[in-house]
Amino acid sequence: MLAVSIIPLTLLGFASLQESNALSSDIALEAEGIGELAIEQSSSALTDLGIELVKTKAEDVAGQVKRYIKDHPEMTVADLQNDPEFQSIIVQPVGETGFTTGMDADSLVIIFHQNPGDVGIDLHSLQESNPNYYKLQQSGWGYIDTSGYYSWTDENGILRDKYGYYVVAEAPTADNVFIRVGSTVYLDEFLAPVMNTNAAIQKRLDEANSKISASTSEMSTANTILIITVLTILVVALVSVLFANSITAPLKRLAEVADKVSMGETDDTDIEIKNDDEIGDLADSFKRMIVSMKYYMEKAKKES
């Protein structure tokens, strides 16, 4: 009765624990998926916003350059390079890591840059070392706006992704140079908040996973205890039945033989009991008594 009542309860408990484990794992996976989706969408939105900012900045600076050149038609590139006001117009910060530059739209030679050392660099020289960047510059042939992604090695020697938008100011200098204004920025600048959010989400997910793991481990222990309990009950029940049989089976056989002998029947009275205990001793004694009865009954029949 005990086993009958405990086994269904145990099975029910085991199934519930398994279900609970599966549910916890599913929730953790779902939460992770939601986190990843949120990060992906946030990244995409912020990147779009950053690109728009870069584009707007490029167009804005190009417009300012155009107006300044129109207001100063006598100024050549060299004049403009020596003009601090123009320098402050054409080299402006973009976000926190970016800035605008100016290059000769025809020769692709940098003529305005926040780093004076970069002024004079011919971008054709980057054809081999940075083909993506070169291709981007080439795509602006014909003074059309151009934009795109490329890799750039920063001042620390780390290769980072960058985005650039290039617009040609629609006014030539006195020496007939069209200036292409470029607005560039490192992409990770826009993604920094997302990265921080991602780290926060990941931290919370790790904590949740740790709790689930701990909970799962506790449930596994409970499962193990349940299984061991049921197995113990079954083993004890089995041993009890076998032990009871080992006592009652020989006694039943002795009772059968005693019943036969009491009715005068001495055939088929062999007692095959090999127990090395009191029951075995009792069987041996009983066997000797039956043998004696057989002997004397046979002898009495002969003599009569």
Binding site: S285, R288, V291, S292, Y295
Partner: protein, 79 residues
Amino acid sequence: MVEYNKYQRMIMSVLARKLGPAAEDFARDMAQLAGISFENISNENVETFAMHVEKNAPRYISEFEAKFTANTIRKLRPS
């Protein structure tokens, strides 16, 4: 109760283990069949006695037990 000497008591003990209270009468019957008195059984004539035990005991006990009992009697040595 008849008083037997040690050798006879040893034979009786071996038979009693299998035949119980009938051991004494059975021993006397087997000795009679062997043509000797149970009191006079000795190491020299015990073989005939054992042979009759081996032959007649299976009527009451198994053949294996009868053979085992007879062989045990054959091996008994009066000290």
